[in-house]
Amino acid sequence: MAEARRRVIITGDGPILVYGPVDVEMPDGTRVRSDRTVTALCVCGRSRRRPFCDTSHRRRARDNSRQERDP
C-alpha cells in the first residue's frame, strides 16, 4: 500500500491494536471491515467475535465455592 505506514501495537497480554480502518481476510476468505480509528484484533483465539477482541483473554477467577459458571 502506498499509504503512510500504519501503527500496530502488540500488547503482549491482550489484542493487537491496529490504527486506521482495516479490511481483514479470514481463513475462509471472507472479509471483515472495521472503520474504527483503532481496531483491537484477537490473538488469543478465544474471542467469540473474531477477528475482533471481546476481552475473552482476561483471567477468570472464582471468589467462592458457588458452582455457577458462564457457558
Binding site: L17, T37, V38, T39, A40, F52, D54, T55, R58, R59
Partner: protein
C-alpha cells in the same frame, strides 16, 4: 410511548426542600436556600438538585434561561452540594495510590460475581430490562459528554488518546453510529421514550449519583484524574457486562436495534480499554505521578456508586417490584 422529541427536557418534580429551591432558582425566582448539610448525601433530594445544576452545562431545561448556567447563587449552592457528596464518597471509599493494582483487579472476570447484567442474562424479565435501559438513559443519551469536559484539561499523549476514544463514542463522523444514537434506537425498539431527560423523574437516586459523579469530575479540573479513573472503570468493565446484556436481549427476543447497542460495546470497549490504560493513564501518571490517588478515587467511587445502583434494582426486582422511583410530589415547585 412519547412521540414528541423536545430538544430540551422539562424540569423534573422536586424531591425535597433542596431540589425544590434549586428548581425555583432555575426558573429565575429569588430563592432562599435551605441548609444543604441536612440532606442525605446519596438521597434523591440532593442528587436531583445537583443533577439539575449540572444539566445547565449540557442541554439545559425548557423554560430555563441558559444564563442560569453561570448564576453565582446556583454555583454557590452547587459547590455546597458537591462538598456534601464528595465528602460522603471520600468517607465511603478507602484511599489508595496503586493504580496498576486497581486496574489489574478490574481486569479479572469474576466467575461468581452477580449484578444486574448477570440477573438479566439468566432470569431477568423484559420489564426489568426496560427499567434498566430507562434509568441508564440519563447517562447514555449524553454518553461520553461528561468525559469530553476533561479533554482541554489534559495535554500531549493522554489528550490525543482520549480524543481517539471519544471520536469512536461519537460515531467517528457518522451520527448514526454515535453511541447516544444507538442507545436512543434501542429505547425505541423497547417502546421507551427516546426523549432526552424523559426518565429523570422516575430514576432512582443511585442512578443520578452515578451521572453526577461524572459531571462533578468532568467540570472540575482538579478532579480530572478522578474522571479518568471513572472512565477507565467503565471501559474496563463494559465488554463482559455488555456481552451478558446481548445474551439477555436475545433470550428475551429483543430486536436488532436493541441488541446493537450492547453488541457494539463489547467490541468498542475491548479497544477503548487498551487505549485508556496504555495511552491515557500510563502517560498521565508518568508525567504527573501525584495524580495517582485521584485516579484510584475515580475507580473506587464509580465502582461503589454502580454497586449501589445495581443493588437498588435487584432489591426491588427480588420482591417483584418496579424500580421506578414514584414521584410523590408531582407538579411544579
Amino acid at each position: 410511548m412519547n412521540t414528541t422529541m423536545p430538544s430540551t427536557p422539562v424540569l423534573p418534580a422536586p424531591q425535597g426542600p433542596v431540589s425544590a429551591a434549586v428548581l425555583s432558582a432555575l426558573r429565575g425566582n429569588r430563592t432562599a436556600f435551605p441548609t444543604v448539610d441536612r440532606a442525605a448525601p446519596y438521597g434523591k433530594d440532593l442528587q436531583l438538585a445537583l443533577y439539575c445544576c449540572y444539566e445547565t452545562h449540557y442541554r439545559g431545561f425548557e423554560g430555563v434561561d441558559p444564563a442560569r448556567e453561570w448564576d453565582p447563587t446556583l454555583l454557590t449552592v452547587r459547590t455546597e452540594l458537591e462538598r456534601v457528596f464528595l465528602d460522603a464518597l471520600r468517607d465511603d471509599v478507602p484511599t489508595g495510590t496503586d493504580v496498576e493494582d486497581e486496574l489489574a483487579e478490574l481486569l479479572v472476570e469474576h466467575v461468581d460475581a452477580f449484578g444486574v447484567s448477570h440477573h438479566l442474562r439468566r432470569q431477568g424479565e423484559l420489564w426489568q430490562l426496560r427499567e434498566y435501559v430507562a434509568h441508564r438513559s440519563l447517562y447514555h443519551l449524553k454518553e461520553a459528554d461528561p468525559q469530553t469536559f476533561a479533554i482541554p484539561r489534559l495535554e500531549g499523549p493522554p489528550k490525543a488518546a482520549l480524543m481517539t476514544v471519544q471520536h469512536d463514542e461519537y460515531g467517528a463522523g457518522d451520527t448514526e453510529r454515535a453511541h447516544s444514537k444507538l442507545y436512543a434506537d434501542m429505547m425505541g425498539e423497547l417502546s421507551l421514550s427516546q426523549a432526552y431527560g424523559a426518565y429523570l423523574d422516575s430514576a432512582p437516586a443511585e442512578m443520578l449519583a452515578e451521572v453526577n459523579f461524572m459531571s462533578l469530575c468532568g467540570l472540575h479540573r482538579g478532579l480530572r484524574a478522578a474522571l479518568i479513573g471513572q472512565f477507565a472503570t467503565v471501559e474496563l468493565t463494559s465488554s463482559p457486562g455488555s456481552d451478558r446484556l446481548v445474551k439477555a436481549m436475545r433470550r428475551l427476543g429483543c430486536g436488532p436495534a436493541a441488541i446493537r447497542f450492547y453488541a457494539e460495546h463489547v467490541e468498542a470497549d475491548a479497544m477503548h480499554e487498551q487505549l485508556v490504560r496504555r495511552k491515557v493513564i500510563a502517560p498521565l501518571l508518568s508525567a504527573e505521578p501525584e495524580l495517582a490517588p485521584d485516579v484510584v478515587l475515580g475507580i473506587r467511587a464509580s465502582t461503589f456508586l454502580t454497586a449501589r445502583f445495581e443493588g437498588r434494582l435487584l432489591h426491588h426486582w427480588n420482591r417483584g417490584e418496579s424500580s421506578f422511583h414514584e414521584v410523590a410530589e408531582a407538579g411544579n415547585a
